[in-house]
C-alpha cells in the first residue's frame, strides 16, 4: 500500500523532516518498505502556455507551437519574444492552452526509473527544432489517456513547476500490508493520518466525511424510483446500503487534482463515476461498487430489488473480467431479484457493468463477512484494492458516511442526481466494547511507568473515549473503526506502541539460579557430528521433500510417503522415508566437481506413513543418521569395509558395542530397500539385540540410477537407537598393569563360508575368566586364488595384573583359544 505524505498532511500536521517521520512511523505504527521521492519524477516539468500554434508544413498532423514558459528554463533556444519552439502531434493542441511542457534534459515521467527511461533533448523534426515535448496525461503517468495532450484548467502562471502546482512534490511511503492485517482503518488515508497525528503526540480531528449520518442526508434524497435491499444470509453481511443516481455522465472526468492523487497511490483515473468510488476507498478504506441501474432492473422485471445471499449450487456468474465461475454456498453473491449479478466485495458481474452509455447507476456501500470473502478470494484468485480492504473487516458504521460523501462527489464531478431514497439493511449492529482496567495492568505488562493521565490522553488522541473513573482506574470505549480492540491487552499494545516501545527500559527477568543443560539427546547428536567430522566426513543438510522418482529409484513405495499437494515443483513433492536417497543424489555432482574421495553425512528427521501417529495424532517422526562414502578410484577392500570402518569408528568413539549380521533375505522395508543384502549387514546392539541400522553397499539398480561410482557404500542408522545404546555405558577402564604384555599370532585355516566373527567370538569366549587383561586384533585375511579355504591370522595380547607371564602360561591360554576356535569352526592351525 502506498501512502502519500501530501495527502496525509491534508488531515494532520507534520512538523518534522521526512526521514524522522519515516523512522517514527516505523517505530510506532508500521514498517515502511520504501520511501519514494515523487518530486524527482516530475523534476523539470513546467506549466507553459501555448502562444502560437500552426500546422507544420509537409506533415499531416504535426503542429509547430511556440510556448511561454515564463522564461524559467535555462539553456534553451528562444525566439525574439522569449518563446520556445516545440513540435506537437496532439489533435487538441491550440494556442491559449496551458500545458505540461517537458523541456530538454527532463525525463518523461512515465518512464522514470524504468530500464527504458527516456531523457528528452532538442532535436530536429522534419527540418525544425523541437525543444522537448508537450505531455499527455499518460506521459505524465497520471492516467492511460493518450488521446491528446493534457489541458491544464487551473489558474496558474506559465513557468510554474508542474509538481508544485499539483502537490506532486510529494513523498510516498510503501507500507508492508501484512503488518496492518488487523487494522482496516489504516487502509484509508484518514485512518493512517490519525495514527501519524497520535504518534507525534497530538490529538486527531476526525474529518466530517467520516461522521455523516443518514438523518442529515434526507434533503438530498428523492423517491422517483424505489429501491429495495435485503440481506438474506445475515451472517454474510452486517450492513448493506445503496442508492440510485441518474444523469451521470460516464464520459466526465474527475477533477485533475483528484486524478493526481489517485495516480500517486497506484490507481488509474478512469472516469468521474469510477474515480469517486476509488477516491473514497483510498481515503476511508471503505470500498464502493457501482452498478448500471437499467441493466440491473432489466434482469428483474424492471424492479430494483437487491439481495445479498449465499451462492447456490450449480449457479454460474460471468465476472467483469469475462471469466465464468461456478458459485459455491461459501461465496457471497449480490443478486437482482433471483439473478446473481456480482461476487460481493470481490468483483462485479459483466451483466451490470458501467459502460459509456450508462446514465443511471446504483452505488453500493456495504460490509461483508471477511472469512467468506477470503475463501472467495483464494478460490478465484482475486487480489483487488477493494478485497484487500474488505478482508481486513471494514466496520459497518463506516458504510453510511462514505455513501453520503459518494453521493455528494458524484453530483459534483459527474452531474448525477439522487433519484431514490437510501435503501438500507443493517442486521449486524455492534456495540463498541467498553473496557475498564487498572493502570497497573498496563505498566505491569509493559514494564513501564505511565501515569493515568498519559494513558487517557494517548487513547483520546486516536479517537477513543477514555477517562480515569476512579483513582488509577481507566474506562475506555473504542471508536467504531477499531474492531481490533477486544481485550485489555489490545489497550496495552496501543499505549506501548503510540508512546514508542523503545522508550521502555529493557530489564532481565528475575529468576532462580537453576542450571539448565542441553538435553542428553542434543548432546549426543553433537557428539555424533563431531566424531564423524573427525573421521573426515562432511555434514550436509538436504531438503525434507524429494521427487517421487527418487523414492522409486531407491526401491521405496511412493504411497508410504506423505505427499505435498501444493508443492512448488515435482522435486519437492514427497516427504522422504529415509535419508540415504537424498545423499545418493549429491555423490555424482560432487565427483564431477573434482572431489575423488569423500564421505557425506546427514542427521535429520524422516517420515513414513507406515510409522503411524503419535498420541497427539500427528505423524511419528524418526531421527536418522545416514552416511555415504564414495571413492572415484578402486580401493583394495570392497566399499562395504569403508562404510563399516567409519561406523566402527563412530561406535567405538561412543563406547557402543555392535555386531554385524548378514541379512537372510531381501527385505522391503524403506530402510533396507536401497541396500544389496549380500553385501550389507544389519547393525545390532550387542547388549539388547535391537536393530540400530544398516551398513553396506547399494543395489546395482541404485548405483546405476543415481550414477554412483563403483566404490560406494554407506550406512543409515536410527539415531534414537544409537542413543539408547549409550545410556548406562560406564566405560571399560581398568587400572594399568605394571607388568609387560605378551603377544602371540595365531593363523587359522577355515572354510570360506566361515565368518571372521565366528573365530573372534570363539577366541573371546576362551578368554573369559582367565583373569588377564586381553585383546584380540586381526593381522591378516588371506585366500589363495580359487581356494575353498582362507587363512585368518589374529594377534592375542595378554597382560597379568600381578606378575610377568611365563611362556608356559601364555601357551596355555593360546591353546585354550585354539581349542575353542577349532571346535566352533573346524579350523586348522597353520
Amino acid at each position: 500500500m502506498i501512502i502519500s505524505l501530501n495527502w496525509l498532511k491534508k488531515f494532520t500536521e507534520v512538523n518534522m523532516p521526512v526521514d524522522e517521520l519515516a523512522t517514527l512511523i516505523g517505530a510506532r505504527l508500521v514498517e515502511i518498505e520504501e520511501t519514494i521521492n515523487l518530486g524527482e519524477k516530475y523534476k523539470g516539468v513546467i506549466i507553459a502556455k501555448v502562444v502560437e500554434c500552426a500546422p507544420l508544413e509537409n506533415t499531416d498532423h504535426l503542429n509547430l507551437t511556440k510556448v511561454d514558459d515564463g522564461g524559467v528554463t535555462v539553456g534553451v533556444e528562444r525566439d525574439a519574444n522569449g518563446l520556445v519552439q516545440v513540435v506537437c502531434g496532439a489533435p487538441n493542441v491550440k494556442s491559449g492552452l496551458l500545458v505540461a511542457w517537458l523541456p530538454p534534459k527532463t525525463i518523461v515521467p512515465n518512464t522514470f526509473g524504468k530500464p527504458d527511461q527516456f531523457v528528452l533533448d532538442a532535436r530536429n523534426l522534419r527540418g525544425v527544432i523541437s525543444n522537448g515535448m508537450i505531455a499527455s496525461s499518460r506521459e505524465l503517468d497520471l492516467s492511460d489517456d493518450h488521446e491528446g495532450i493534457l489541458e491544464i484548467q487551473a489558474d496558474v502562471k506559465p513557468g510554474t513547476s508542474f509538481a508544485s502546482a499539483f502537490e506532486l512534490d510529494d513523498v510516498l511511503f510503501d507500507i508492508a500490508n501484512k503488518s496492518l492485517t488487523h487494522r482496516p482503518d489504516c487502509f484509508g488515508i484518514v485512518g493512517f493520518a490519525r495514527e501519524v497525528s497520535a504518534i507525534q503526540g497530538r490529538a486527531f480531528n476526525t474529518p466530517e466525511l467520516l461522521l455523516g449520518n443518514l438523518a442529515d442526508f434526507e434533503n438530498l434524497q428523492n423517491d422517483q424510483v424505489s429501491l429495495n435491499v435485503s440481506i438474506d444470509n445475515p451472517d454474510m453481511s452486517d450492513r448493506y446500503l445503496a442508492v440510485v443516481m441518474s444523469g451521470a455522465d460516464a464520459n466526465k472526468q474527475s477533477p485533475f487534482e483528484v486524478q493526481t492523487y489517485l495516480s500517486r497511490v497506484g490507481v488509474r483515473a478512469i472516469s468521474a463515476i469510477v474515480d469517486v468510488t476509488n477516491y473514497l476507498m483510498m481515503l476511508t478504506g471503505q470500498p464502493l461498487h457501482a452498478f448500471d441501474y437499467d441493466k440491473l432492473v432489466a434482469l428483474n422485471n424492471g424492479k430494483a430489488d437487491i439481495h445479498v445471499r449465499a451462492g447456490r449450487d450449480k449457479e454460474t456468474l460471468v465476472l467483469l473480467d469475462g471469466r465464468v465461475i461456478e458459485l459455491t454456498p461459501d461465496d457471497i453473491v449480490i443478486a437482482s431479484g433471483e439473478t446473481a449479478i456480482g461476487l460481493a466485495g470481490a468483483m462485479g458481474g459483466s451483466s451490470t457493468a458501467i459502460d459509456k452509455n450508462t446514465k443511471t447507476i446504483i452505488i453500493e456501500s456495504a460490509t461483508f463477512n471477511l472469512y467468506n470473502l477470503r475463501s472467495t478470494q483464494m478460490r478465484y484468485g482475486i487480489f483487488s484494492e477493494a478485497i484487500t480492504r474488505f478482508t481486513k473487516g471494514q466496520p459497518a458504521e463506516l458504510s453510511a458516511p462514505v455513501l453520503i460523501k459518494a453521493v455528494q462527489l458524484m453530483t459534483e464531478w459527474s452531474g448525477a442526481k439522487c433519484i431514490s431514497k437510501i435503501a438500507e439493511t443493517y442486521t449486524g449492529r455492534h456495540t463498541e466494547p467498553t473496557l475498564e482496567f487498572e493502570l497497573s495492568v498496563i505498566n505491569d505488562v509493559l514494564g513501564s511507568e505511565f501515569t493515568a493521565q498519559e494513558v487517557v490522553r494517548t487513547l483520546q488522541n486516536v479517537g477513543f473515549k477514555a477517562e480515569e473513573v476512579r483513582l488509577k482506574v481507566i474506562r475506555t470505549t473504542a471508536p467504531y473503526w477499531r474492531a481490533d480492540i477486544h481485550i485489555v491487552e489490545d489497550i496495552v499494545e496501543e499505549i506501548g506502541r503510540l508512546n514508542g516501545f523503545d522508550s521502555i527500559n529493557p530489564t532481565l527477568p528475575t529468576r532462580d539460579f537453576t542450571a539448565v543443560r542441553p538435553s542428553d539427546f542434543d548432546n549426543f547428536r553433537k557428539q555424533v557430528r563431531q566424531i564423524l567430522v573427525r573421521a573426515g566426513s562432511n555434514e550436509i543438510l538436504t531438503y525434507s521433500f524429494i521427487h517421487g522418482n527418487i523414492l522409486q529409484k531407491a526401491g521405496q513405495k511412493v504411497e508410504n510417503s506423505y505427499r505435498i499437494i501444493n508443492s512448488i515443483s515435482p522435486d519437492l513433492q514427497y516427504y522422504r522415508q529415509t535419508l540415504s536417497p537424498s545423499l545418493f543424489e549429491l555423490v555424482h555432482p560432487n565427483i564431477k566437481q573434482g572431489y575423488d574421495n569423500f564421505a557425506l553425512f546427514e542427521i535429520n528427521k524422516t517420515h513414513q506413513k507406515s510409522d503411524g501417529m503419535t498420541d497427539e495424532n500427528v505423524p511419528v517422526e524418526s531421527n536418522m543418521t545416514a552416511l555415504v562414502v564414495a571413492d572415484k578410484n578402486k580401493l583394495s577392500s570392497a566399499p562395504y569395509y569403508q562404510a563399516k570402518r567409519l561406523l566402527d569408528y563412530l561406535c567405538e568413539s561412543l563406547g557402543i558395542k555392535v555386531t554385524y549380521k548378514q541379512f537372510e533375505k531381501e527385505s522391503d522395508s524403506p530402510l533396507t530397500a536401497p541396500f544389496e543384502y549380500r553385501r550389507s549387514a544389519k547393525v545390532i546392539n550387542q547388549e539388547t539385540g535391537k536393530l540400530i541400522g544398516i551398513v553396506g553397499e547399494y543395489k546395482k539398480l541404485i548405483t546405476k540410477g543415481f550414477k554412483l561410482p563403483e566404490q560406494i557404500a554407506g550406512f543409515e542408522i536410527k539415531t534414537d537407537e544409537l542413543f539408547n545404546a549409550t545410556i548406562g555405558q560406564s566405560g571399560s577402564y581398568r587400572p594399568l598393569s605394571k607388568y609387560p604384555a605378551s603377544e602371540r599370532d595365531v593363523c587359522f585355516q577355515i572354510e570360506n563360508s566361515i565368518q571372521y566373527s565366528q573365530i573372534i567370538d570363539a577366541a573371546t569366549s576362551a578368554l573369559l575368566g582367565v583373569g588377564l587383561e586381553t585383546s584380540i586384533v586381526p593381522v591378516d585375511i588371506y585366500q589363495a586364488e580359487s581356494s575353498a579355504t582362507k587363512n585368518i591370522t589374529i594377534r592375542v595380547r595378554l597382560t597379568s595384573y600381578d606378575h610377568t607371564l611365563t611362556g608356559d602360561e601364555v601357551t596355555l591360554v593360546i591353546n585354550s583359544i585354539i581349542t575353542s576356535v577349532i571346535s566352533a569352526t573346524h579350523a586348522k592351525v597353520i
Binding site: 516505523g26 510506532r28 514498517e31 501484512k178 492485517t181 488487523h182 471477511l370 472469512y371 467468506n372 505491569d444 514494564g447 481485550i487 491487552e489 496495552v492 499494545e493 516501545f501 529493557p506 532481565l508 527477568p509 532462580d512 537453576t514 539448565v516 543443560r517 538435553s519 557430528r529 567430522v533 573421521a535 573426515g536 566426513s537 562432511n538 550436509i540 543438510l541 538436504t542 531438503y543 525434507s544 506423505y562 501444493n566 508443492s567 512448488i568 516427504y575 555432482p589 566437481q593 572431489y595 569423500f598 528427521k605 497427539e616 500427528v618 505423524p619 583394495s636 577392500s637 569395509y641 570402518r645 549380500r678 553385501r679 549387514a681 546395482k700 571372521y756 573372534i760 585375511i781 588371506y782
Partner: protein, 334 residues
C-alpha cells in the same frame, strides 16, 4: 499370426536361458517378422504390425530382466563381520582435515548453548504437524488473512510442514504448566526446520531454520523481553548493542514487535545501521488459554527468528541456496 506366437515363445525361451540376452533382439527371426508386414494385404498390416511390436516390447523387457538376473548372479556375498577384504590390509579413514560440520548446525548448537546458559531448555521442532498446532492454538481464526503470510504447504491428509517453530508453542506451554503453577517459570527455546511455499533465489528458500523462545511467569513484562533478547545478542556478538523495535502484527502476541539490533562492529556495522533479527511480543491471552494456563495469573513473552541470517552475516555468505546444496566446494570452507 500363429507364426508370430511360435517365434515369440521361442525367442522368450532363448532370452531366459541366454548369457548374452541382448543379442537375441538382433535375431533373424525378428527381422523377418518385420519384413513380412510389407508383403501382407493392407487391411491385415495394422493388426499384424501391432502384434510384432508387442512382441518386441515383451522381448526387450525380458532382456532387461534377464540382464538384471545375470548381474545379480555376479554379486558375491562378502563376510560382513570381517574388518577388511581378504588379501587386503586395514582400511584407512578419510583424512581428518577433510571433515567439516555444517555451518547451520554449528550455529544452532551455538544459539542453543547461549540460551541454555541463560536458563532456557532447548528442544527441537517438528517437521510435520497439524493445523491445530500451526495455527489453531496460536489464535489464528480458520479463514483469517493473517494465514496468508505463511504460505504453508499441505499434505493430502491436511498435515502441514510447519511454517514457523511456533508450532511447538502450545506443547511447550502445556509441558511447563505444572512447573509454572508450582511457583516456577516456563523458559524454553525451540529450534528447527520450517517450510514456506516460496520460489527459491539467493535470498529466499522454501526450507530454512528458526529458533523460537517462550518465557512465562507471574510477572513477565515487555521490558523483560527486550532485556532478554538484548542480552542474548550481546552474548552472541560479544559486545554491547543498541536495540530498536517496530510494531508488527502476529495473531499469537499482543503487543507484537519486530526486533532489530544495531549492526555489530564485528560485522563491519556503523552506527545507524540496523539489522532486523526477529519477531516477538507478549503472548496473547488466547494462546495461554489454549494451553490451559490462566492468563489472569500468568503472563509471558515469545519470539522467533531465522538462523540462516546469523550465519550469512557471520561468514559473509552470499547465497541462501548453498545451505541445502550439499556442495563440497561450499561445505569444506567451514
Amino acid at each position: 499370426m500363429q507364426n508370430i506366437e511360435d517365434i515369440s515363445k521361442k525367442l522368450l525361451d532363448l532370452v531366459a536361458g541366454s548369457d548374452t540376452p541382448r543379442e537375441i533382439l538382433k535375431s533373424v527371426e525378428l527381422k523377418q517378422l518385420y519384413g513380412v508386414v510389407t508383403t501382407l494385404p493392407v487391411v491385415e498390416r495394422g493388426a499384424y504390425g501391432k502384434r510384432v511390436n508387442e512382441l518386441r516390447i515383451a522381448l526387450e523387457s525380458a532382456v532387461t530382466a534377464r540382464e538384471a538376473e545375470l548381474e545379480d548372479k555376479t554379486v558375491e556375498t562378502i563376510d560382513v563381520t570381517a574388518p577388511w577384504d581378504k588379501n587386503a590390509g586395514p582400511v584407512e579413514l578419510i583424512q581428518t582435515e577433510q571433515g567439516t560440520q555444517h555451518p547451520l548446525t554449528r550455529e544452532l548448537e551455538n544459539v542453543a548453548d547461549i540460551f541454555t546458559r541463560m536458563g532456557f531448555d532447548a528442544i527441537e521442532s517438528r517437521q510435520i504437524d497439524d493445523d491445530e498446532h500451526m495455527f489453531g492454538t496460536l489464535n489464528f481464526h480458520e479463514n483469517h488473512p493473517a494465514r496468508d503470510g505463511y504460505d504453508t504447504f499441505r499434505t493430502e491428509e491436511g498435515f502441514i510442514p510447519p511454517a514457523h517453530t511456533s508450532t511447538m508453542q502450545n506443547r511447550i506451554l502445556k509441558a511447563g504448566k505444572a512447573k509454572l503453577e508450582a511457583g516456577g517459570q516456563i523458559a524454553a527455546v525451540c529450534y528447527g526446520r520450517v517450510y514456506r511455499n516460496e520460489d527459491v533465489d539467493a535470498t529466499h528458500e522454501h526450507t530454512f531454520y528458526q529458533c523460537e523462545g517462550v518465557f512465562v511467569s507471574k510477572d513477565a513484562t515487555l521490558g523483560q523481553m527486550l532485556g532478554t533478547l538484548r542480552s542474548f545478542f550481546e552474548t552472541y556478538y560479544g559486545q554491547k548493542l543498541k536495540i530498536k523495535t517496530q510494531p508488527a502484527y502476529f495473531p499469537f502476541v499482543e503487543p507484537g514487535l519486530e526486533f532489530a539490533i544495531e549492526k555489530p562492529a564485528a560485522l563491519g556495522g556503523k552506527p545507524g545501521e540496523w539489522l532486523e533479527m526477529l519477531g516477538c511480543g507478549m503472548i496473547h491471552p488466547n494462546v495461554l488459554k489454549a494451553a490451559g494456563i490462566d492468563p489472569t495469573k500468568y503472563r509471558g513473552f515469545a519470539w522467533g527468528g531465522g538462523i540462516e541470517r546469523l550465519v550469512m552475516l557471520k561468514y559473509g555468505i552470499e547465497d541462501l541456496r548453498y545451505f541445502e546444496s550439499g556442495k563440497l566446494q561450499f561445505l569444506r570452507k567451514f
